[in-house]
């Protein structure tokens, strides 16, 4: 195998691939990236056995072939090469080394046989559709903060992507929750997605997927089977196992009868919460919201550290209400709001509270209150 490739293209491909590789590996080959050169493309493939990333980059291939080298080392080398360099990678079958040449730099890396590299078995993808990158970006960006890290409830360790019924018909929906808060984000249903089985996309996959979604004009090909999900651009294919479990019936969790409406400037609100939370105790981080006619008082009272209070002008016309929340959760949901005011719907101080952006019901958040 021998090919030459522009440093920037190589770096992009290798960086993408190596981020999947686990830092601590008990199986040596999993630390490696599989490089396959053929025609005028080179493919870089990396896996942790749950996720597989394949990156394609154009290259001048002199001799077709394949090998594997340590992904992290290769990435480091390429990163440190000067911008604009032309890099030549070559391997002669007998040496067992991959040679990397760029200008006057010369590296030689140990390889492992390409036959040992575990290539993820292909799946029977029943649903295939295409969605614009910004749509998927919104679905996952706005829901991923609520993913749980609890190992006992492994089925919450991802985003539940499925087709759901909403007022305006069927939608593509992403839901995540950790039991403290929940995010439910909807998007228009792409054609071809109608019969898609709901899948739980693992946290790590969501992180890797995000790297495919930066380009506003990109179209992402999505394929879903019962056990796997695949996201692909012309350059990159990300395949992942989905979490083998049943996502709980979240619809019961979303309150429908909350009538006390608070409207507040989300940015002002978030800043105020952040300020008063400064004195809250490390353990609880509890913030109390005291609501009265068009007035919201945020307060924290931590016996061992101090107290804080801040008043905000808001739109509120219901009975007086006092309700506590974990400041971190309030901040997280408030930061999801970027265009309009945040609208909170309360019931009582013991019931889950709903939050959305203006009257937009395509992004809904639920947060559990805290006894204060």
């Amino acid at each position: 195998m021998k090919f030459s490739i522009e440093r920037a293209a190589l770096l992009k491909a290798v960086a993408q691939a190596q981020s999947v590789v686990e830092r601590r590996n008990t199986i040596p080959i999993l630390a490696n990236v599989l490089i396959e050169a053929e025609g005028d493309t080179v493919m870089f493939r990396a896996t942790d056995l749950d996720i597989e990333v394949v990156d394609r980059a154009p290259a001048k291939v002199e001799r077709a072939g394949a090998t594997t080298v340590a992904a992290v080392t290769l990435n480091e080398i390429v990163r440190k090469l000067p911008d604009g360099a032309l890099v030549t990678l070559s391997e002669s079958g007998s040496s067992g080394r991959l040679t990397i040449e760029a200008g006057r730099s010369n590296f030689s890396l140990a390889t492992l046989p390409k036959e040992d590299f575990p290539v993820m078995a292909s799946s029977d993808y029943a649903s295939n559709f295409s969605a614009p990158a910004p749509v998927l970006r919104r679905l996952f960006d706005k829901s991923k903060f609520a993913i749980s890290t609890e190992e006992t409830r492994y089925y919450l360790n991802g985003v539940y992507m499925h087709v759901a019924d909403s007022d305006g018909g069927k939608v593509l929906r992403c839901v995540a929750t950790d039991g403290h808060r929940l995010a439910r984000i909807d998007a228009d249903l792409p054609s071809g997605a109608e019969g898609m089985a709901g899948v739980i996309v693992p946290r790590k996959t969501v992180g890797e997927l995000r790297k495919l979604l930066d380009d506003d004009d990109a179209q992402i090909a999505v394929s879903v089977s019962e056990t796997k999900v695949r996201f692909a651009t012309p350059q990159i294919t990300l395949t992942s196992k989905v979490i083998d479990g049943t996502f709980p019936d979240y619809t019961r969790v979303i309150p429908t009868g909350n009538t006390r409406r608070l409207e507040v400037d989300a940015a002002e609100f978030a800043k105020a919460v952040d300020r008063v939370a400064t004195v809250s105790s490390e353990r609880s981080r509890a913030v109390k919201l005291s609501l009265d006619e068009d007035r919201l008082i945020l307060s924290v009272n931590a016996p061992d550290s101090g107290a804080a209070e801040e008043e905000l002008a808001v739109a509120y016309g219901d009975d007086r209400l006092e309700i506590g929340f974990n400041a971190k959760y309030l901040l997280e949901i408030a930061s999801q709001v970027d265009r309009e005011n945040a609208v909170f719907m309360f019931n009582s101080s013991g019931d889950p509270t709903l939050m959305r952006e203006g009257n937009d019901t395509t992004a809904v958040y639920v947060v559990m209150p805290m006894r204060v």
Binding site: T152, L156, R371
Partner: protein, 417 residues
């Protein structure tokens, strides 16, 4: 030389018998009225409580322990004469003393008796550090003026009151630090009163084995053995730096102990790090229903203790001992601290299910740690478990019923498994 009669509490100047009441229970020591660190150890505590509560047992050898193949928890002095010891397997104990009466432990009664003893100790000094139900350190420094009597007299009065008012006996060790006080209380059991003064400390320790040190078990003993250290005399010969180089922090402690020095203070109200309860089964079991019953009962006990102290915890631990004595332990960090039996049980049960080990087991334990005040606990609930609130209310109601009508007034069905 100052002397004290432990029966009539008279103080006098030396003699084998008390000049007032002619009792031979006399303690004589040069430093008797200047020492103030004490260790009180109840004599065969569980067995003494049983004998007190059931006079029929009084003249018979009694062994407290569980099950046909459990171990001896406590043996009364009559049984000890036959060679029965704590932690001895029951079958062996019964071989040595076939006429012994085996009594299943009644922890509630022991806890209550322990509280009564503790109340008496609290009258002596605010600085009481309990080590377990039946032993505690006390620092009586500076109390002589208050009581109008030196610590030794107050301690003798303590054991007298224990006997007169509670029907229990204890042994006192009096010295100038915790280590020696504990050693002393063991010298003259039962109903003993031993003193180790500053002057004779080094001489006293010289030929004693190092396993006298609390915390030196078989493993530590072995590593000391390898270093050629068997007695305090051996230890005394070592340089401080060499001991530290060989045993680390322990080495420093050993060097000081070899000189009879122990700077640890008697710490009242040492913060509790965790609460745990465990039970050894009557016979090994792998039956999930039986184990489930145990998990529930233990969770309830742990929760009860947390509630009594107004604390909560955020880490639940499940401990299992297999038939081959191998211990398996699993723990889980909760999303928020709890004191509910329901939450502890559900977590411990989930850990058990996750373990996927079919047993059989001989012991099961449930623990709660990472403690915090109860006001920080159970504040948020779980979106995905809307019934949790109802269960919490039910548990509170059940607690109230128990407070009013007694502990068995209401129990869960699974507690009967």
């Amino acid at each position: 030389m100052p002397a004290l009669c432990r029966d009539c509490l008279a103080t006098f100047d030396a003699g084998r018998r008390c000049p007032t009441c002619r009792s031979p229970r006399v303690t004589v020591h040069d430093e008797l009225f200047t020492l103030s660190i004490a260790h009180m150890d109840c004599d065969a505590f569980y067995a003494s409580v049983e004998k007190r509560d059931n006079p029929e047992l009084r003249d018979k050898p009694v062994i407290i322990g569980g099950g046909k193949r459990g171990v001896v928890s406590t043996a009364c002095y009559l049984a000890r004469i036959k060679g029965v010891r704590s932690a001895m397997p029951m079958f062996q104990a019964l071989k040595l003393c076939p006429e012994a009466i085996v009594v299943r432990p009644r922890m509630d009664a022991y806890v209550e008796a322990s509280r009564a003893v503790r109340a008496l100790m609290d009258e002596l000094t605010p600085v009481v550090e309990p080590l377990s139900l039946d032993e505690a350190f006390m620092d009586l420094g500076g109390t002589a003026k208050l009581h109008g009597a030196p610590p030794a007299v107050m301690l003798a009065r303590l054991t007298k009151r224990m006997k007169d008012e509670l029907g229990l006996t204890g042994s006192i060790g009096l010295s100038h630090n915790k280590f020696l006080a504990k050693v002393a209380s063991d010298l003259d059991k039962p109903r003993g009163f031993s003193v180790i003064g500053k002057a004779e400390t080094v001489e006293f320790l010289r030929h004693k084995p190092v396993r006298l040190i609390w915390g030196i078990g078989p493993a530590a003993q072995e590593s000391l053995d390898r270093a050629g250290i068997r007695t305090f005399n051996d230890l005394h010969r070592w340089d401080h730096d060499d001991l530290v180089a060989r045993f680390g922090g322990t080495g420093d402690r050993l060097w000081h102990l070899a000189r009879g020095e122990d700077a640890r203070r008697v710490a009242a109200n040492r913060p509790v790090k965790g609460i745990s309860n465990e039970t050894t089964f009557y016979e090994d079991t792998g039956d999930p229903d039986i184990l489930d019953g145990h998990i529930w009962r233990l969770s309830e006990q742990v929760s009860g203790r947390a509630k009594a102290r107004d604390i909560a915890g955020s880490v639940v631990t499940l401990k299992l001992k297999r038939s081959n004595h191998k211990i398996v332990s699993r723990q889980l960090h909760l999303r928020e601290p709890t004191q509910y039996a329901d939450t502890i049980y559900r977590t411990a049960r989930a850990l058990f299910d996750q373990l996927g080990d079919k047993g059989p087991f001989r012991l099961l334990g449930v623990g709660l740690s990472h403690l915090c005040p109860a006001s920080d606990a159970d504040r948020e609930g779980d979106l995905l478990d809307p019934d949790a609130g109802k269960r919490a209310k039910a548990e509170k109601a059940a607690d109230d019923i128990r407070k009013k009508f007694g502990k068995d007034a209401i129990v869960k069905g699974r507690a009967l498994r």
